[in-house]
């Protein structure tokens, strides 16, 4: 198992790195995001995407959704370390959860004329984008879907005049009636 900073022993041969999405339900108090993010940097964990907003104004509860990666041991440590933080109410790991649905929203600005402009619009239709804003030589698309779908669309736009991308990060929820 990895032990960054071990004074003694640095192992060779890593276990496979896997990706997961964590939902961290926290009391919405000052500094709570810094605590969570600081824990990741202090202990050398990865953050691939992070989304945070207050989800229950009455109860002052926020939900932080973090996409992270690491070996099985590291992911287990991340969950245990998050649980230790005083304002953290719950940590849910969606690893291997077939019922988990993840979505991300992106705003994508593409500039071009002629064939490029037509092709960009045609592809945006195929990906079920909304045209949020447009001019004679540019579009701004709004696209919602899995991170993979967003990546694919952005790659397609690159040769067609991609100008700028803004993404929200991932939000995840489980299918079915029951709450988490």
């Amino acid at each position: 198992m990895t032990q960054p900073g071990s004074a003694y022993f640095i192992p060779e041969g890593e276990k496979p790195v896997i990706r997961t999405t964590l939902a961290v339900v926290v009391a919405n108090e000052p500094g709570v995001l810094a605590r969570v993010v600081g824990l990741f940097s202090a202990r050398g964990y990865n953050i691939e995407s992070l989304t945070v907003a207050e989800t229950d104004h009455e109860a002052h509860t926020s939900r932080i959704t973090i996409v992270t990666s690491g070996t099985v041991d590291v992911l287990e440590q991340i969950e245990a370390q998050l649980t230790r933080l005083v304002p953290v109410k719950r940590v849910i790991d969606f690893r291997g959860d077939a019922d988990a649905v993840s979505r991300e929203l992106a705003l994508i600005k593409v500039s071009g004329v002629g064939d490029h402009r037509v092709e960009a619009l045609r592809l945006s239709d195929a990906f079920k984008c909304r045209v949020m804003d447009a001019g004679l030589d540019w579009f701004t698309f709004e696209l919602t879907g899995s991170s993979r779908k967003l990546d694919d669309f952005i790659e397609l736009m690159r040769p067609l005049g991609l100008v700028e991308v803004s993404r929200t990060g991932v939000a995840t929820i489980r299918r079915g009636k029951a709450p988490l």
Partner: protein
């Protein structure tokens, strides 16, 4: 630390206050400290805490000890906490006051010591403006504390103080910081008294899962070569946990070893005691850890100084790990049975389970015969001649001459710390205060002052090195001011001994900056501070000088001149396993004892 809050509050909140006696923030703070059982605050005044100092001036329940540097305050609070099981409290000003206290906060975080640190802050409207003596205290201490608070509204202050004490003392104890801007100290609010409402998100588990306890007992019952590997979690759980550990050891007949932090939980005079384990642990303890078939880890965390090389750590054992902190379980070493619980509660459940399932001592004759052969190797052996005092001998004599008294030992960090752990034999918990996790040179002297403050009639000795002790030496002035008769017993070899030892073993005997070519005359220094100075240079005079130190009613600095180039053995070198210890007289060429790969590790 479940017992820490039992004694409070000191008296019911007066009816007048329930209905609305308004107080300033500073008064609310002092009142809340009192209601949380605080009798002593270690601190240093400054601009941003003056209202609090004014409130302290106008009451008598909470006494203030004036330190000489804020780091000293933090270690005093630690010493106070470790020796009493209560929460230690320090009070410092904004900016440099807060940054100076950080070392002690991290020290307490690593060693799970309950502290509440009050810091002053610039007024709310100046926060973020780079005001005089402003720093981002909560930002700086976020990873130095278990939790911290910035109080922006005086209406929140009382709740936060009570919550801070709860967080500091429950679960895995640790330091909690409250940053209070100066305007909040002046503003008024109502004081309502300590509430009993549960915290919405912080509810640490202390009771063990009984199904896991059953599995653990079943595994223990099958053991042929078991060991109880105990740690500071038993000390933190309170004296009852140590009592239960002794019963569990007696009931099972298992041998007992301990980490540096757990010394005293099981008595060193007990027949099943193996001594401390780890890098400078006893030969028998490390061989038992390496060769055991069932390891029962109680309130310890498989620190790298304990495990050595991880892939060769106790290769044949099945492991049970009890820890109050879920992140300690499976962090460094995977446990077959991981039990999240307070060490004392878990030991009680294991004991009850053992009585019900087995009901007698395990048959371990072969294992004990093997242990006796390891004990006969005498890994702590040293030769004491007639001219120079060996440091090991000095600690042995100190133990022999103080063992029949109520004695508390603190240490600095380095070779002397390991010799103290090896040669001063602890019989009771809370008698041993040392910086284990962070390894803070300069911890021992202020910690001794904190211990002495909590135990005015006890004999409190800081076993020190001449290098470490100079880091916080100015606190002797504090000891003199409050007539706290601490004894600073310096093993003076003129070297940063542990650095020198590693340079000898790892860096081709190139002694880069580890020798102090200029040292103060510690006897004259003692006199300058207004305490007594003593010096011993030969084995013949040692006992009489130690006795003189013990008999002197005030603080003492004892300059014990010891052999300059003594190494601390046994030693598990970098990159090695428990059964590859360097022993004091085994003829290993010290220059080649650590291979190239080991030299790169630390």
């Amino acid at each position: 630390m479940t017992t820490a809050l039992a004694a409070q509050p000191t008296e019911p909140v007066a009816a007048a206050e329930m209905t609305g006696a308004e107080m300033t923030g500073a008064e609310i703070l002092v009142r809340a400290l009192r209601d949380n059982g605080v009798d002593t605050v270690f601190g240093y005044p400054g601009g941003a805490v003056l209202p609090i100092y004014d409130a302290i001036f106008q009451q008598e329940e909470v006494e203030h000890i004036l330190v000489r540097h804020e780091q000293g305050a933090s270690h005093m609070a630690e010493g106070y906490a470790r020796s009493t099981g209560k929460c230690g409290v320090l009070l410092v000003t904004s900016g440099p006051g807060a940054t100076n206290a950080v070392t002690g906060l991290v020290d307490a975080l690593m060693d799970s010591i309950p502290l509440v640190c009050i810091t002053g802050q610039v007024p709310t409207h100046l926060i973020g403006s780079d005001a005089f003596q402003e720093c981002d205290t909560t930002g700086i201490t976020r990873s130095a504390t278990k939790h911290n608070y910035l109080v922006k509204d005086v209406a929140d202050l009382e709740r936060i103080v009570h919550e801070a004490f709860h967080v500091a003392t429950s679960g895995r104890p640790g330091p909690v910081l409250i940053d209070i801007p100066k305007d909040v100290q002046f503003k008024k609010a109502f004081y309502r008294g300590r509430p009993n409402t549960p915290h919405p998100s912080y509810n640490p588990r202390t009771e063990p899962d009984l199904a896991l306890i059953d599995r653990a007992v079943a595994l223990m019952a099958t053991a042929k070569r078991p060991v109880l590997y105990t740690g500071g979690g038993i000390i933190n759980s309170g004296p009852e946990a140590s009592r239960l550990l002794r019963q569990l050891a007696e009931a099972t007949g298992f041998p007992v070893t301990s980490t540096l932090m757990g010394l005293g939980a099981y008595p060193a005079s007990g027949s099943q005691w193996l001594g401390m384990l780890g890098m400078h642990g006893s030969y028998e303890a490390n061989m038992v850890m390496h060769g055991c078939d069932v390891m029962v880890c109680l309130g310890a965390r498989f620190d790298d100084r304990v495990t050595g090389r991880l892939d060769a750590f106790s290769p044949g054992s099945r492991k049970i790990h009890v820890d109050i902190d879920p992140s300690s379980i499976n962090k460094n070493v995977r446990a077959e049975i991981g039990i999240q619980a307070d060490a004392g509660r878990a030991i009680a459940a294991l004991l009850a389970g053992w009585q019900a399932r087995v009901g007698r001592k395990a048959k371990l004759d072969d294992w004990w015969a093997q242990i006796d052969r390891w004990r006969a190797r005498k890994g702590f052996a040293y030769r004491q001649g007639s001219d120079v005092i060996k440091p090991q001998y000095a600690v042995e004599r100190l133990h022999a001459l103080t063992r029949h008294r109520s004695t508390y030992i603190t240490t600095e960090v380095g070779q002397h710390q390991m010799w103290a752990a090896q040669f001063y034999h602890f019989e009771e918990p809370n008698r041993w205060m040392t910086s284990g996790g962070l390894g803070t040179m300069g911890y021992g002297l202020p910690a001794a002052i904190g211990v002495q403050r909590a135990h005015p009639d006890a004999l409190v000795i800081d076993i020190a090195g001449e290098a470490s002790v100079q880091m916080t030496m100015q606190e002797m002035s504090c000891a003199v001011q409050y007539n706290l008769p601490v004894k600073i017993f310096i093993l003076n070899n003129e070297w940063m001994g542990m650095v020198r030892q590693w340079q000898q073993l790892l860096h081709g005997e190139r002694y880069s900056h580890s020798y102090s070519a200029a040292l103060p005359d510690f006897v004259k220094m003692a006199e300058a501070f207004g305490c007594k100075g003593l010096r011993a240079e030969t084995p013949a005079e040692l006992d009489a000088k130690i006795q003189e130190m013990i008999d002197y009613p005030g603080p003492v600095i004892f300059d014990c001149r010891v052999a300059k180039e003594e190494n601390c053995f046994p030693m598990i070198p970098s990159g090695a396993a428990h059964n590859e210890m360097i022993l004091p007289d085994d003829g290993t060429d010290l220059g080649t004892a650590i291979d190239e790969k080991g030299k790169q590790l630390v």
